[in-house]
Amino acid sequence: MTEVKNLEELFQAKIDAEQKIEPKDWMPDAYRKNLVRQISQHAHSEVVGMLPEGNWISRAPSLKRKAILLAKVQDEAGHGLYLYSAVETMGTSREQTIDDLLSGKAKYSSIFNYPTLTWADIGAVGWLVDGAAIMNQVMLCRTSYGPYARAMVRICKEESFHQRQGYEIMAVLAKGSPEQKEMAQDALNRWWWPSLMMFGPTDANSPHSAQSMKWKIKRQSNDELRQTFIDRTVQQAEVIGLSIPDPDLKWNEETKQYDWGAIDWTEFNNVVAGNGPCNKERLAARNKAHDEGAWVRDAAVAYAAKKAKRKAA
């Protein structure tokens, strides 16, 4: 018992001294569990996130946009791969992690349970959803677990590129025909509040946050990150002449930040509970791909085994 306590003290001292925790280092079970949950959720979000965007590849309105979108969705798949590998460094296999997604046991970011209804949604997703994700991910580049932090550095570079591309789609639409501008505004209206929800519950309602901060898995609270995102994004919307769908939004000269309206947490809880517009479709699509791909994976394994046997003979 004393031994574990000492180990825990050493572990915390290491974190306090800003040293990274590496896979072979001792770590408390709760730290490991917490990270496996967080990184795998993050990996699943990348992979499920391919679906709403992939939805528009066949219909992108120009070949250049189609190429950019293909490359973007491909990047998300790559992020999924790094992150599943980061989970594996903590001793959980990729198969297990993916099984938990497919069975509905593991969560992924609820934002991907919203549908992409028009081309402008591809702009809004890049600008707002990737924009919100970056807030979190920039912080995670300095997270205490080494493999996660390193994966994040690569991911952040690509995500900030995606965010600029999404914003550019919106900017072109906003200065286009009246129909295009209307399409852009409608997409902003639909994606704004769900994007704010991506930062998670308010600090007062976020039970795991204190421990995550102590372990330096997180370094900024949900509310801080959300506020930074709002302050930055409101200005970006102004530049391209779109309006944020929040009647209570107002610059506060005293705090030097925006005051804003209330998030509909009932909607948030509903989507998390599985009742979002596309929860069933997303999980069904992942399961279908997995089931229909089983014979392909089996063939690859069988062939590799045959080849190894022939080589040994």
């Binding site: 969705v73 599943y84 639409l173 229909e292 014979w295």
Partner: protein, 250 residues
């Protein structure tokens, strides 16, 4: 001459644009994450080559049509891709066999085109050879894995091969346009491409323990804009946003 060059360039472009469109449908639905990435990469490579060719076709035509005009504002009857590439994805065996049959043709074609008398086509082909080499290697490896993998994968690959074989003849058809291009030293002699294709197919199928289907009836028509019924749906999906808002920037 410029009419034939326009038609020839457009055929090259249409093949890979439509194949790219089909491959893009897999994005997010691949059998394993690595394959999802590989398939998207393939779609992206094809799209890049298609864009170069369409842009060039527009220049050759000289009517001011851009890559997007040619991709989004032509109807089924004006598309000149081979019917092979518009066939539905089906299972992963169908997708990979379709790509393999195409890649085995595309690589020698691109290699030969690097020596084309048309400098622009030669430059575009030069850029594509590296990608096409990788595509053929990757699809060949899958055909071998399927053929020599499990009983199920063997059967699926053989079924795909038997279904798609009838679309391979069209890749090597000749007509007045191709003859003119070959005579001008712009296009390679299609018979040499067929020879290279046939050799690759035999090698890979033999290693895969798959049976090369007999050359029975071969489908035709794609180069004249006579497509399968799939084509209308491919274009409807691809073009609908662009057509719904004519003349705007995206």
């Amino acid at each position: 001459m410029s009419q034939a060059l326009f038609t020839y360039t457009l055929r090259l472009a249409d093949d890979i644009l439509i194949l790219s469109q089909r491959l893009g449908e897999w994005c997010g639905h691949g059998p394993v994450l690595e394959e999802d990435i590989a398939l998207t990469n393939r779609a992206l490579d094809h799209l890049g080559e298609a864009r170069n060719l369409l842009t060039y076709a527009g220049q050759v035509e000289g009517k001011g049509r851009s890559e997007d005009d040619l991709a989004y504002l032509r109807m089924e009857r004006q598309y000149t891709n081979a019917k092979l590439v518009e066939q539905p994805n089906g299972d992963y065996a169908h997708t990979m066999v379709r790509s393999f049959l195409f890649d085995a043709y595309h690589l020698p074609l691109m290699q030969a085109l690097t020596k084309s008398n048309d400098a622009q086509l030669a430059a575009i082909a030069g850029k594509s050879v590296k990608e096409a080499t990788y595509h053929l290697r990757a699809s060949s490896e899958w055909i071998i894995r399927f053929g020599d993998g499990t009983e199920e994968s063997h059967q699926r690959a053989q079924a795909a091969l038997d279904n798609l074989w009838t679309y391979t003849g069209e890749l090597f058809e000749s007509d007045a346009v191709l003859e003119e291009m070959t005579k001008a030293g712009i296009a390679p002699d299609i018979a040499t491409i067929k020879e290279a294709w046939s050799k690759t197919v035999d090698q890979v199928l033999s290693e895969a323990t798959l049976k090369r289907p007999a050359d029975a009836f071969m489908m035709t028509g794609g180069r004249k804009g006579l497509h399968s019924e799939h084509m209308g749906f491919i274009l409807a999906e691809m073009q609908h946003v662009t057509r719904a808002y004519p003349g705007v920037e995206w």
